[in-house]
């Protein structure tokens, strides 16, 4: 983009506007304008500005273009009338010019074939023709100038050199002179890459309503200078095209995904949810899985799905009594549960990982809540990164953002969870939700949330939810009548739907196009 930017930020302004210069260009323009106007004043119209510039005697490599600029400006001041003419002309390509000089490839091949020879030797002899050698040879055969003897495999002349006429060269000469040619011929020449096209724009110029040889200086802008006294009343202003698309403003911008994060935070805060501290990408398997009653052989704990750490490989501290209660719950059950009945391993739970969900944070917060003297109800939320050991594709990244909300209170029901989810999704523009039974090791009941997307015009899976299992809450020490309802979703998916992204990699990571960030509209639901 060749745009000169003037940046208004205090203290940061780097690039001033372009310094105007009385350059070679301006001088040439002045000369061209004078010649043109005096020519018209003498009663002649100008049929072609390119030709006029060429004969003007002005010395400048781009004089034709400069003259066009002059005409545009004169037209704006109604000094001249000008009609724009666009024309495409056929011209010789680099190769075409060569064949004019040397003769067409087929002609050269024929002339070179003094003695019969095999194809390989002939091609070798004509190496200088490059890519044109093979088509040239076919052309010779087609014209019955030469032929291949099937028995001897030798190529020989069929006619005398004196009778050969280099037709293609003659056609190319005509192109060079600007003479007309048959359309079919032109097509063939173009196909053989001997010709190309050139686009030209020029003007037909005649007197305008306010024709004058000596141009009046027009004001281009309302300046501080012109505001002195009533100077602005005495000048004429140059025409200004008001209806073109304005230039982009040079300003900062926020990232689309972060804009949606801001909006979601706002909505959850408005709903009375407090933010949880989520600054622990590294988490022990204990808090990420075991406290959530996720058995140690669960597939999610596989190296295929979870990032384990080289260092720090193991967590350094756990709360012993709590560990004991979690272990007992896995191995033997309790609080009405029969447990998973396997040998629980402390070593396994000490393994550090990159958290696979922010539910690890919820678990810590609920444990903390359970340690308070008297239970008080809570509503919590968080939005932060989680990590999965995935191969990357259009819908999967190894790290993405999870939105999570939970309510802990006495006597909460599934009906309350459904009501909370419905309220949240209505706020982000999804009015219709329905629920599908699902399985999740730490919630029971578990529900997948489906929402009707107005953008996609179909039902899509938009999140997961459930009531935390008693096997998770009891070891923490939460009273038995306290239920915890929770739901979660990714931040990326609703953002992709809202802004019409097809590929998650266009939204997150260093390959995101800056233009997409710059042009991304406001986020409000």
């Amino acid at each position: 983009r060749d745009i000169s930017w003037e940046f208004p930020g205090a203290g940061f302004a780097q690039c001033a506007g372009r310094v105007p210069e009385m350059s070679v260009d301006s001088k040439a323009k002045e000369q061209l304008e004078a010649k043109l106007l005096s020519h018209i004043a003498a009663g002649h119209d100008v049929k072609n500005t390119i030709a006029f510039a060429a004969e003007s005697g002005v010395n400048h490599p781009n004089k034709a273009k400069l003259l066009n600029d002059v005409v545009k400006s004169l037209k704006a001041s109604r000094i001249v009338e000008a009609k724009q003419v666009n024309k495409q002309t056929v011209i010789l390509s680099k190769e075409g010019k060569r064949w004019v000089k040397e003769g067409s490839p087929e002609y050269q091949i024929f002339m070179a074939l003094e003695e019969p020879m095999d194809k390989k030797s002939l091609l070798n002899k004509m190496k200088s023709l490059g890519g044109a050698a093979n088509p040239g040879m076919s052309e010779c055969m087609k014209r019955r100038w030469i032929s291949l003897d099937k028995e001897t495999k030798l190529i020989r002349r069929l006619i005398e050199p004196s009778t050969v006429k280099d037709e293609v060269r003659e056609q190319l000469l005509k192109v060079q002179k600007g003479e007309s040619l048959d359309v079919k011929v032109l097509k063939i020449l173009k196909k053989r890459k001997m010709t190309g096209t050139k686009k030209e724009t020029w003007y037909e110029v005649s007197k305008g309503k306010e024709f004058t040889v000596e141009r009046k200086a027009l004001a281009t802008d309302l300046t501080q200078e012109l505001m002195k006294g009533d100077a602005w009343k005495k000048v004429e202003f140059k025409e200004y095209l008001m209806t073109t698309e304005p230039k982009e403003a040079l300003v900062g911008a926020l990232h689309p995904l972060m804009k949606v994060r801001t909006e979601f935070r706002q909505i959850l805060l408005e709903m009375g949810f407090s933010e949880m501290p989520t600054n622990n990408f590294v988490e022990s398997s204990f808090w990420n899985f075991d406290t959530l009653f996720q058995p140690q052989q669960h597939p999610a704990r596989d190296a295929h799905d979870t990032f384990f750490l080289g260092q720090p490989q193991k967590c350094l501290k756990l709360i012993d009594e709590y560990v004991e209660r979690v272990k007992t719950m896995h191995e033997k059950g309790g609080s009405g549960s029969i447990g998973y009945r396997y040998d629980w391993s402390l070593e396994e739970s000490k393994k550090n990982i990159l958290r696979t969900h922010t539910t690890a944070v919820s678990s810590r917060m609920l444990y903390k809540l359970a340690q308070e003297k008297e239970f008080t109800p809570r509503k919590y939320f968080s939005i932060d990164r989680v990590f999965r050991n995935e191969s990357l594709d259009a819908t999967h990244l190894a790290e993405f953002h999870q939105v999570e909300g939970l309510v802990a209170d006495r006597g909460l029901s599934l009906s309350n969870l459904i009501g909370t989810i419905k309220t949240f999704f209505t706020r982000i523009g999804i009015d219709d939700v329905k629920f599908k039974p699902a399985y999740n090791p730490y919630t029971e009941p578990s529900m997948e949330i489906f929402g009707y997307s107005k953008e996609l015009k179909k039902w899509i899976e938009i999140g997961n939810s459930g009531m935390f299992r008693p096997e998770m809450l009891a070891p923490m020490g939460l009273p038995e009548d306290v239920s915890v309802i929770a739901w979660g979703l990714s931040l990326e998916r609703p953002t992709m739907i809202k802004y019409g992204y097809k590929n998650i990699r266009d939204l997150f990571g260093h390959k995101v196009k800056l233009d997409l960030i710059y042009n991304n509209p406001l986020c409000r639901y």
């Binding site: 900062g252 396997y342 990159l354 190894a398 909370t420 096997e471 233009d515």
Partner: protein, 597 residues
């Protein structure tokens, strides 16, 4: 979640009902499974290997159905059909009949003590007078595959062996022997091997599906093996069965053994196989016991299968209050029956329910699982949507509130926000920014699947430089920023890791733009009410020339606030730019902003 393929017409035949695709989809949605795809054998092959290879294959409609990960009873068409029949009210529950012959007639399995070193448990049973056909036989093999991949965790926890009992001579022994002493002809092989030679053979064999399992036992000095009384090898668990006792379409009596490291799961697996295939016995749903004795006395002698239902007692009040509905205990019992959970009201006045969870429902651990099944049968979407009355006052995390405000300041200053990964490659945060790795700074990953993600970033600058490298054609100057977390090792925390919130900004143009980055620093400080410490008073911010190798010599400094170093700035070193393939000069700043909170 596992997915199973079932022939649509066969499923509908078993359900004795036809559905349109939409009707079947809705049934799945209500029941909690998902119709993932509708295809055919021909279409699948065609997609995988091209149309030509698919020529002549069946075009019968196949439903791919996604099953919840804890419902092993739905992993074959037999189980799925019977659960759906019960859900649709077409059938009542299934009762299994276990025949236990007298102690002199019962088949016996003795477990030698050496198995303790490698795979200590075995459970077994016999299906008598079973009748296979092609479809049943394939389903029988498929179910074992599905169980192996799911609950058996790739055969590490449990491995299933099924045999033609009539080719074997009980009693059986379960032993663990040095590999070279185990000689047999493995399933689908033409020659005999000793186990020591067999493993390298499988390693080398092309497309050998057994390769992933070899590592489960190959380091052990002894391998587990099951023999009959004539020393015929039934199986070398968890790898392969013997060819001798291979199941055929004509097999009438099936001997099932499941060896395991997890006894609970071994029982679930054995019971699932019995529950699914005993229906094809001449006396449907009957099974014959086997007695397993442990030489080591690790366990008392056991009779398997152990299919007694597990009794749960719960009450209508608990279930109603947790779901948020108001229905009677007897109606709950009816709903539970539809979920294959036999339930009866044992105290009408208190609404007490007794539920007998059958062996097929090993997912039931707690009355809350029963509550869920009531909710499913009632219909999640028939439950009222009530917002909880919980009153709370909301608060933000101070660091996040500050981040939101700071992002405003930076974008107002004309900078564009970018979002880069916390995962990165080791070379990017060390070599590329000319910083040596002392081994005490960064958090490393042990098993990354994607190359380029093997460490957690310790600063934001590399991510910004990567972004600039990708935006080479963008109009200049390019001004970008990110406010996000970085990770560091810290042995004073619980996990040994900590996170810090950083701000990094970068100016890229045809000139370095260092002054602009300095101005940005001033702006950030002004907005935080921190003034420039021109008099060396120890209050406010100041810059001190640094030797940070990421920046250009003589054009780099550390940023101090109240005497404490909180970050760095400077012209990015040309070698650093080159490492990231950035062609234009850049200036950058990186600050730890937690001190502002």
């Amino acid at each position: 979640m596992p997915t199973i393929d079932v022939l649509r017409d066969r499923l509908f035949e078993m359900l004795e009902q036809k559905f349109t695709e939409e009707e079947f989809e809705n049934l799945c949605f209500e029941f909690g499974i998902e119709l993932d795809d509708v295809t055919s054998e021909k279409e699948m092959k065609s997609k995988a290997e091209g149309e030509e290879r698919a020529e002549g294959l069946s075009e019968d409609v196949i439903y791919k159905i996604e099953i919840p990960a804890n419902r092993y009873d739905l992993l074959c068409i037999e189980g799925l059909a019977s659960a759906l029949r019960i859900f649709l009210g077409k059938d009542k529950r299934t009762d299994f009949k276990i025949t236990t012959p007298s102690d002199d007639k019962i088949l016996k399995m003795t477990v030698k003590k050496e198995t303790n070193q490698i795979r200590p448990f075995v459970v077994c049973a016999v299906l008598r007078d079973i009748k296979f056909d092609q479809a049943r036989y394939e389903s029988f093999i498929d179910l074992q595959d599905k169980l192996h991949t799911n609950i058996c965790r790739q055969r590490t926890l449990v491995a299933i062996g099924t045999h033609d009992l009539d080719t074997l001579q009980p009693p059986f022994t379960y032993e663990a022997l040095p590999p070279k002493d185990i000689v047999f002809k493995p399933l689908n092989e033409t020659q005999a091997f000793n186990a020591e030679a067999l493993f390298p053979y499988y390693e080398k064999k092309e497309n050998c599906k057994l390769k992933p399992f070899l590592k489960i036992i190959n380091k052990s000095p002894v391998y587990p093996v099951i023999y009959d009384s004539k020393r015929v090898v039934c199986s070398l668990p968890p790898i392969i069965n013997g060819e001798h006792s291979k199941i055929k379409l004509t097999t009438q009596n099936v001997f099932i053994e499941c060896t395991a490291t997890d006894l609970t799961k071994a029982n679930i697996v054995l019971n699932t196989v019995i529950a699914m295939f005993s229906r094809y016995c001449s006396k449907p749903f009957s099974v014959e016991s086997i007695k397993v004795s442990y030489e080591s006395k690790r366990l008392e002698p056991q009779i398997y299968p152990q299919m007694d239902p597990i009794k749960f007692t719960t009450d209508a009040k608990y279930i109603n209050s947790r779901i948020g509905i108001e229905i009677k205990a007897k109606d709950m019992a009816k709903l539970l029956t539809r979920m294959s959970l036999p339930a009866k009201v044992i105290d009408e006045s208190k609404g007490t329910l007794e539920v007998l969870a059958p062996p097929t429902r090993s997912d039931i651990l707690h009355p809350c699982d029963i509550m869920e099944d009531v909710a499913i049968a009632y219909g999640y979407n028939n439950i009222a949507k009530l917002v909880p009355k919980t009153f709370t006052v909301a608060a933000q995390q101070p660091i996040n509130k500050f981040t939101e405000l700071l992002r405003g300041v930076l974008s107002q200053a004309g900078y564009m926000e970018v979002l880069t990964f916390a995962l990165c490659a080791k070379k990017e945060i060390f070599d590329y920014i000319r910083t040596p790795d002392d081994g005490k700074t960064a958090i490393t990953l042990s098993n990354p699947r994607v190359e380029g993600f093997n460490i957690m970033r310790t600063c934001l600058l590399p991510g910004l430089l990567k972004t600039i490298a990708e935006s080479a054609g963008y109009r200049k100057p390019i001004r970008i920023f990110e406010v996000s977390d970085i990770c560091l090792l810290d042995n004073t925390t619980e996990t040994g890791a900590k996170q810090r919130r950083h701000l990094s900004a970068l100016w890229c143009d045809t000139k370095s733009g260092l002054e602009n980055i300095q101005s940005l620093l001033r702006r950030v400080m002004d907005m935080n009410g921190v003034s420039f410490d021109s008099k060396n008073s120890g209050k406010g911010y100041y810059l001190k020339e640094s030797s940070n190798p990421a920046y250009f010599q003589g054009r780099r400094a550390d940023v101090y606030v109240d005497g404490k170093c909180i970050g760095t700035l400077g012209i990015v070193h040309p070698e650093v730019l080159d490492n990231f393939n950035v062609k234009s000069p850049c200036s950058a700043i990186e600050l730890d902003i937690e001190g502002f909170c």
